[in-house]
Symmetry: C2
Subunit: 458 residues, 2 copies
């Protein structure tokens, strides 16, 4: 079947594809906030309808949380499962957005045209690249070159509580030869990337309680324990002066990079000055003696994602707070065991707890890191197809983010995943003013059309 | 003139007095929040009207902030200035209140009847004790035994920005022989107290900025500086392991207690287990080797009153925040210089700032501590009058809170202040469910009637 006709069709119909993406972006499917539950449901319905419109046998599947969308098409050729997520991050701080996050527009910027909205890049724009590639194949050839299972979830930004039970209950239906996941980025602006190494994620919220009520710092200050000060000492003690995480056993299972991977990464010409400069920084702030690429791809981290305690409004209030809390996450690599690290963290916190203080822990996910077997033919076939589309050849890279679904596809369904995406570093995902380049969207669709054409194995 | 008739009148008319206090409590005069500006104005108007209703020449005085209320009565006898504040603390966290903070009710509790509302104790209930004592004197004798200047402000809970300019501009009108301030508490439930030693207060807000936007902790975590971690290290380093504040020169001007004061305080029979037990604590958490009374009355402190950064809503968000901020206050004693300590604090913060981080400081007040000259006859006359009203003799005590107006009366108007109040430790001022005991209110009014009768000097 002719690939060229498909690519031409994609080029001609790009405005229609952008219009469909805008429709999906108008649905505020924030999964972490119960106020948007109905919108998550609407986003799932929209996807079911869109898949059905191109002849895919799609349906919405109820879960205890937000629904899944599953679709099937084809009965011969390589069998792939394509995954994306239709839920998006919260929008706060809303006052830092230049416009309504759920009223997508096409903007001309100095770096090119972009689609600006929450979820434009993460992950609605990305998942639509694959659907649009399938639409173009179907409209040109009335069929697809692969057997495809579509699988979209709506809880990726809120810890995916329903994912593993759903995969487990529907394993025969969802199993394929290999998974394709579109939730990652290019390497720079011109180099497509296939992620073969993903960090895991352990999320822990801690709530420290001292006095049983908020106190006047004049009446009690000096004599009553202050839980904010206790929390600050706990956080300060998690790293030593070299940026090394202090929890006992934390680095068990953290591998050193092989010479060959190290060489491959060095050849990427990654410039930490440019990478950090885009967000107002200059120096890599992690472990002393590690490169910035190691810090974000192959080294584990411990970060505070949120902290609150006492009076945080305008002006000043001399309150001695009863409680202070923090959301803390660990990015994991190699074979680091999230359960053991959770235990070590909780034990450490308890040793730092003075008399009269108590602690409560809330779990927010615990996922191992992933390492793909790149010997499967799909990896080299996809790499060649991507290299045909983009200025630079495609690279196998690491990814600092955690995409736990890759680990679950391996653990529950026994298949590896190829993570291919077209996001750029400046897309501001999880931040105000998120965008997706029109080029990412357009060449992303073309990339998938090429990959569908290239995939071929017994 | 007969004191007994005045006391009888107070007893008979208590329900009317409570009704007036409830009227004042219904006005939500939160000074720190601009949304309540009109309510602060209404509270001032209400006080002007109430003073006028008992024949006092009262008026509202405009300032750049909330208005002052000034009143005059009498032309002979000792000249006193009475001070209170009509503004109240914010009400958050509102979900911890058992009822509407601005719909005052009388509740029967196991410890007696209370008036429950924001400001019931701090300071509307307290200031009304004095007005009600004057009302009773006037209604029984048609005159008052002292020459009195009334002075009420509406910015005490928000740093009193207009106070010093107003005192300076109106010094001849406001000067008196001595000031009476009703904004403090009993010592325990049965021992009235005159505060002769007040801690000062230095308030500083710090805002740390790292990246110029919120980042995805997967993409940047490990390589980008995290301002919450920087802030935690700054806070953790402010105290050593013995609870001693580490800023260079911080303890300059901090006096040791004299043997006699130490003896007087020991005789009070203060039990830290009871004091801390009421708020769910057991051990004094300040400098090792100091008594709890020293910690709250005569030792300086450094506390975090609020902290915030990153995602603080429900669930989890793997954001690496751009900013983190904290409100930090220092209680000062002796001759500690707030300006020098501010400089030392800001210099310390800058030394702890890594590359790529910046800091902004916001000032929230800087007041010296106060020490009264108890040789003025008013002190012993008031002590005797209070001792007649209450089960236990009155004591000269310290106060951990900062009542900067006492320092300004000394500095601008050249007069000492007697701080006499009837609040109890469990009044929950600055906290949800604030209350004032009906006994505090009733015996407070009677105490002022006795003090007005007792004051006598050339």
């Amino acid at each position: 079947m002719s690939l060229e006709k498909v690519l031409t069709r994609i080029d001609q119909k790009l405005p229609d594809a952008i219009g469909r993406l805008q429709e999906l972006l108008r649905i505020p499917s924030v999964s972490t906030d119960p106020a948007y539950k109905g919108d998550c449901d609407r986003a799932a319905d929209w996807l079911v309808g869109d898949l059905q419109s191109i002849g895919i046998d799609a349906s919405k599947r109820v879960t205890p949380g937000h629904p899944m969308v599953v679709g099937h098409v084809g009965d011969s050729g390589p069998h792939i499962l394509f995954y994306g997520h239709y839920d998006v991050q919260p929008i706060d701080p809303i006052d830092l957005w230049d416009r309504d996050p759920f009223d997508p527009v096409i903007e001309d910027t100095p770096k090119g045209r972009v689609i600006r909205a929450r979820g434009a890049s993460d992950d609605k724009g990305q998942l639509m690249t694959f659907i649009e590639a399938c639409r173009a194949w179907k409209s040109v050839h009335a069929t697809l070159p692969c057997r495809i299972t579509f699988f979209f979830e709506g809880e990726e930004e809120s810890g995916s509580p329903s994912l593993v039970p759903f995969l487990t209950d529907n394993a025969p239906e969802l199993s394929a030869d290999i998974a394709l996941i579109c939730d990652t980025g290019l390497f720079g602006a011109s180099t497509p990337a296939i992620v073969t190494m993903l960090r895991g994620l352990l999320g822990q919220e801690i709530i420290i309680t001292g006095p049983d009520k908020d106190l006047h710092s004049g009446m009690y200050g000096g004599a009553a324990i202050n839980p904010v000060r206790v929390l600050a000492r706990i956080i300060a003690g998690l790293h030593d002066d070299n940026g090394v995480i202090t929890l006992p056993g934390f680095y068990d299972g953290v591998p050193e990079l092989s010479q060959s991977v190290q060489g491959q990464w060095e050849s990427l010409g990654f410039d930490h000055g440019t990478f950090l400069g885009e967000v107002g920084l200059s120096e890599p702030a992690g472990e002393i003696g590690r490169s910035a690429l190691e810090m974000i791809w192959s080294r584990p981290t411990c970060e505070v994602n949120g902290i609150t305690g006492g009076y945080t409004g305008d002006g000043f209030k001399t309150v001695l707070p009863s409680k202070a809390s923090a959301k803390i996450s660990f990015r994991l690599v190699g074979t680091q065991d999230p359960d053991k690290i959770r235990d070590a963290f909780q034990a450490y916190v308890r040793t730092k707890l003075p008399v009269d203080c108590s602690v409560e822990f809330i779990d927010h996910g615990a996922d191992f890191a992933s390492q793909m077997q790149t010997s499967h033919p799909a990896f080299e076939q996809a790499r060649a197809a991507l290299s045909d589309e983009w200025p630079n050849p495609a690279a196998f890279v690491g990814c600092g983010g955690s995409i736990p679904v890759a680990g679950h596809f391996k653990g529950v369904l026994g298949m590896d995943a190829m993570l291919i995406g077209f996001a750029k570093d400046d897309d501001q995902i999880h931040s105000p003013n998120e965008k997706y380049d029109v080029e990412s969207f357009h060449k992303g669709i073309r990339s998938w059309a090429r990959i569908l054409d290239a995939l071929n194995w017994d």
